[in-house]
Each structure stands twice: as structure tokens, then as C-alpha cells.
């Protein structure tokens, strides 16, 4: 493993893990939302 190999490995892992952890931290910090009801084509009804 060359030094550049280590650089590419570490930078790539840091990027993908960092992006995932950051994204999920944002998602999990959001408040819960309420469900809502909408009309659907399967029932042949007109949507709002």
C-alpha cells in the first residue's frame, strides 16, 4: 500500500461515512410530522 493509496482510502471513507452521519444526524434531529390523507387515482377520485 503506497502513501497515495492510504490517502485515497482515508479520504474516500471519510467522505462517505461523513456524508451519511451528517445526513442521518439532520434527519433524526427533526420533529415528527403528522399523517395526511389524499385522494388517489386507483380509486378514480379527483385529488385536492
Amino acid at each position: 500500500m503506497t502513501p497515495l493509496g492510504w490517502v485515497f482510502l482515508i479520504v474516500s471513507l471519510t467522505f462517505v461515512w461523513g456524508l451519511m452521519i451528517w445526513s442521518f444526524a439532520k434527519v433524526l434531529s427533526l420533529p415528527a410530522e403528522e399523517r395526511e390523507v389524499i385522494a388517489h387515482a386507483a380509486e378514480g377520485t379527483t385529488p385536492d
Binding site: G5, W6, W17, L28, E33
Partner: protein
């Protein structure tokens, strides 16, 4: 359950479901081979460029289109693209978004059954590889097991091959249908919410075992973990001057993220009006990347290198994804001593989970499509979908010789048409629906803002990038594909099956179009222009 009740239960649920759809066998088997063969660590430069300028932006467009369509009462690619694309051409091109997941499921569930079969055999005693035998004999034993289980030797695995193949397929297919029939929240979401963490734990167990292998054979000191990582990650910058490297990177990102597959647009259609699509799309893509780069990039080739050396690993990569996963890795597991069967069982169970979280996503689009075009109940639509899948899967399993039949479907539907659908989607989103409206729609309820620069990416860079990749891909592959179809009756049979499914989907779309118009729905997106 009616479609009116279909909704994701939680934000996390939809993210994990989309991520589960994206994480599949390619993350663990295809990615490392592509990287090693195209510049090693240097491959990550075009790879991350494709992620940022192709995969994530087109993914955002697909999430946005899906949620927008769902709020108007539509859940399938034809209806949503017809509405957002304002007419019949996008609507009928949208049938590709139903065809892809449906036709790919014909063979994907079959491959998924192999993973279950391998996991079962490993956890009940192994697959018959004698660890003390010469490597060539072990490889032959691994190949023999693979050929028997998959029916590669001859057609008719159902009649003359291992009955276990059929048993594993019935279990796999049945499980898929039960999950899909239970619905979005109670079936798919509940399953992926536990399957994804379990898959991560399995991957972590195998990763830790691989990274602690050290130098298993002191007489071969070069065959160690560090050199194994070096084989995969040492950069070869000369590869960056080769167009093939950029094509391979874009192709890998594209197929890995499941954009242009018809699944995200369907899954997102069950989101609520204020649900975020920007952060969710990013989180799902990031999860896929962790499984691909963080696990796939460290496990597969490192393990192969440690036990098989440089030449053995090069040969394994040349053997393709399935050769690497089902022939080479069993030989590697055989060298792990007492833990080999446990590691092998964990590995294949993980692949099974990766596959099933993808396959459940392949049934939902066609189920929603049949419900909304034919106006059928979920039960009747499921019956129709299952019937089509059983017929398609029967042909795939019966005509199993050398995987010719299903690889033809994979080439034309699972590869070629994905490019086409992604191209149509990004054009509909950025050019017909309009980038300004699309941008506004994407940010409704968004918890992060997309950098403004991505407007240019979505309108110009991504379509051009995709077009260039598509043309290069077509020039490279289509002539051979056409010749091989002309020369091989099995390939012609597969094409006939594809055309038959297309015809059915077009007829259903036509029926649906009449129903929707009669019901007063905004089929061509005329009133939605006022949004």
C-alpha cells in the same frame, strides 16, 4: 388496504427503504472489481464526480417527481411522467419505469435465491470445499457447487437440477410478495427498517474478520491485508486519461444508486406534502455509498488477495462480479479454518438481505401501476403481478444454461433502458416541467437547501453527462448485443418476453389513461401549470 391509506410511517423508513433498494449485490461484488480494473484509488475521482453531477441530482429530480405525482393521486412512472411531461409521449415512455423493476425481478429474485441457498449451506456444514486440497481443486469444487445450484450447466434446472434451487426461489419469492402485499408501511418499511441495520452488522462482522487476517501464510509474506488493500486502493493516474475509466465510474454510480429504475419515483409518491425530499435523497445516496465504498471497497478484494495472491485476485476480477462472489469467495472462506463457514454464512446472508431489500422495491411499482391503470383492488393487482412474475421467472429458471436468458434481460432492460428512463426523467423534470418549478417543488418541506449551482447541473450538466455516457456505452456494447441476439435463440426468447411485457404495460397505460380522464384527473398536467 386501499392506496389512500398507503403512506410511509416515518422519514427514516422511506430513507432506509430507498437505500435498501439501492444497496444490492453490485455494491459488494461489482464496485471493487470496477475500481481495481480502472485505476484503483484514482477511480474514486471520476466516481465521486459522477456521484455529485449525475447520481445525486437525478436522484433529487426523481424523488421530487414521485412526491409531486403522489400528491396528485398518481403512483406509477407512466401517470406521473405523463402529468409532469404534459402528454402522451412522456406517459408511454414512463412505462419503462414499470418494465424495468418488473422484468429485472424475474432474474433478480432467482439470484437472491442463490444467496439464500449459499447462506443455508454454509450455516449447515459448508458447500463441499476441502480446505487442504490444492487451490485449483477447491476452485473446481466451488464452480461445481455454483453450477449445480444455479443450473448453469444445462437448461431445465427445474426438471433435472437441484430441487433446492426451486425451494429457495419459492421461499424468496413468497417472502417478497408477502412483504409487498402487506403494504408500504407495514410490509416494506417495517422490513427494511430492521434489515438494513442487520445487513450493516453482518458487513461489519465480515469486514472485521477480513481486516484482522494479517498474513495467514508466513511462507507468503506478501499476501497480507495491507497489500490486499493496496491492490484495490493504490492509484494509477494514467487510467484517468482513458475514457473507459470515466465511463465505468459513471455506470457504477448510476446503477448503484438505482436512479432511472422506476423505484424512487414510486416510493416517493407515498410521501406527504411537507415531507423532505432533498435531505432524504441525500441520506439514501450516502447510505448506499457507505455500503459500496466503506464495505465493498474493503472486504471483497482484500480477502481474495490475502488467500489467492495477486494473480488469483486478478483472475477473480476478470471473472466478473458473479465469479468473484460465488466462485472465488467460497475458496477464500475455506481458508479461514473453523470460522470459514460462519463468515461465509454471514456474508451470503448479508448478500441475501442486500438483494431482498432491493427486490421488494421492484414489485411495488408494478403493483401500484396495475391498481391505478385497471382500477383493481390490491388483491387482484397482486394476483396479476404474481402471475406475470411466475411466468417470467419460470422462463429464467428453466432456460438457465450459461445465464444466457436472464443476462439478455439484464443487458437490455436492467442496463440499456435505465439510461433511457433516466434521460427521459431529467428532461421531463428540468426542461418540460421546468427547472424553476422543479426547484421550488424540490424545496417544499426541504430541511436543507440544494446549492444553487445544482440548477445548472440538473438542467445542463447532468443531461449532457448522461448523454455522453449513454452514447459511449451504446457504441461500446450495442453492436455485440444485437449480433448475439441474432445468433442465439435463447436471447431471442428473452427479447420476446420483454416485448410481451411492454405490450401489456402499454395496453394497461391506455386503459388507465381513459379511466383517469373519465374520472377528471389531470392526466396531461394542464391544471397543474397553475401551481
Amino acid at each position: 388496504m386501499t392506496e389512500q391509506q398507503q403512506q410511509w410511517g416515518t422519514r427514516l423508513g422511506v430513507i432506509l427503504a430507498v437505500a435498501g433498494s439501492a444497496v444490492g449485490l453490485g455494491n459488494f461484488l461489482r464496485f471493487p472489481g470496477q475500481a481495481a480494473a480502472n485505476g484503483g484509488g484514482a477511480f474514486m475521482i471520476p466516481y465521486f464526480c459522477a456521484l455529485l453531477f449525475l447520481g445525486i441530482p437525478i436522484g433529487w429530480a426523481e424523488w421530487t417527481m414521485g412526491r409531486y405525482g403522489g400528491l396528485k393521486g398518481f403512483h406509477s412512472a407512466p401517470s406521473i411522467m405523463g402529468m409532469m411531461g404534459r402528454g402522451a409521449i412522456p406517459r408511454y415512455l414512463g412505462t419503462i419505469g414499470v418494465l424495468i423493476p418488473l422484468a429485472v425481478s424475474f432474474y433478480y429474485t432467482y439470484i437472491e435465491a442463490w444467496c439464500l441457498g449459499y447462506a443455508w449451506h454454509y450455516l449447515t456444514g459448508g458447500i463441499g470445499i476441502a480446505a487442504g486440497a490444492p487451490i485449483a481443486e477447491q476452485s473446481a469444487a466451488a464452480s461445481q457447487f455454483y453450477d449445480n445450484l444455479t443450473g448453469r450447466d444445462t437448461n431445465g434446472v427445474l426438471a433435472g437440477g437441484s430441487y433446492k434451487t426451486l425451494v429457495f426461489w419459492v421461499i424468496t419469492f413468497g417472502l417478497n410478495i408477502v412483504l409487498v402485499y402487506r403494504g408500504i408501511s407495514k410490509g416494506i418499511e417495517k422490513f427494511t427498517t430492521w434489515a438494513m441495520p442487520v445487513m450493516a452488522v453482518c458487513a461489519l462482522v465480515v469486514l472485521i474478520r477480513v481486516l484482522t487476517l494479517g498474513t495467514p501464510d508466513p511462507t507468503l509474506p506478501d499476501q497480507n491485508v495491507i497489500n490486499g488493500l493496496g491492490y484495490m486502493w493504490n492509484p494509477d493516474f494514467s487510467a484517468l486519461t482513458n475514457a473507459q475509466t470515466w465511463l465505468a465510474a459513471a455506470g457504477q454510480i448510476f446503477f448503484s444508486l438505482s436512479v432511472g429504475f422506476g423505484v424512487i419515483i414510486n416510493y416517493a409518491s407515498y410521501m406527504k406534502k411537507k415531507d423532505d425530499v432533498v435531505l432524504s435523497g441525500l441520506a439514501a445516496a450516502a447510505t448506499n455509498e457507505v455500503f459500496e465504498v466503506g464495505f465493498g471497497g474493503l472486504i471483497t478484494l482484500t480477502a481474495a488477495f490475502v488467500f489467492l495472491g495477486l494473480s488469483g485476485t486478478i483472475a477473480a476480477v476478470a471473472g466478473g462480479s458473479f465469479g468473484l462472489g460465488f466462485n472465488t469467495l467460497p475458496v477464500v472462506f475455506a481458508q479461514m479454518g473453523a470460522f470459514g463457514n460462519i463468515v461465509g454464512g454471514t456474508w451470503f446472508f448479508m448478500l441475501f438481505l442486500a438483494a431482498i431489500t432491493s427486490s421488494v422495491s421492484m414489485y411495488q411499482p408494478s403493483l401500484a401501476f396495475f391498481q391505478e391503470t385497471l382500477g383493481w383492488t390490491r388483491r387482484n393487482a397482486t394476483t396479476l403481478m404474481v402471475s406475470i412474475c411466475v411466468i417470467g421467472s419460470f422462463f429464467v429458471m428453466y432456460y438457465s444454461r450459461a445465464s444466457i436468458f436472464w443476462s439478455t434481460i439484464d443487458d437490455w432492460v436492467g442496463t440499456f433502458l435505465i439510461f433511457v428512463l433516466a434521460m427521459v426523467q431529467i428532461i421531463v423534470f428540468a426542461w418540460i416541467f421546468g427547472i424553476e418549478r422543479g426547484w421550488k417543488e424540490a424545496h417544499a418541506g426541504a430541511h436543507i437547501r440544494i446549492p444553487t449551482f445544482f440548477k445548472i447541473v440538473m438542467k445542463y450538466i447532468a443531461p449532457v453527462y448522461l448523454l455522453v455516457v449513454f452514447i459511449a456505452f451504446s457504441v461500446q456494447n450495442l453492436p455485440d448485443w444485437v449480433r448475439s441476439v441474432a445468433a442465439e435463440p435463447l436471447r431471442q426468447g428473452a427479447m420476446l418476453l420483454i416485448v410481451s411485457v411492454i405490450a401489456l404495460l402499454v395496453v394497461c397505460t391506455r386503459i388507465g389513461e381513459k379511466r383517469w380522464r373519465a374520472a377528471g384527473l389531470d392526466v396531461d398536467g394542464k391544471t397543474t401549470q397553475l401551481d
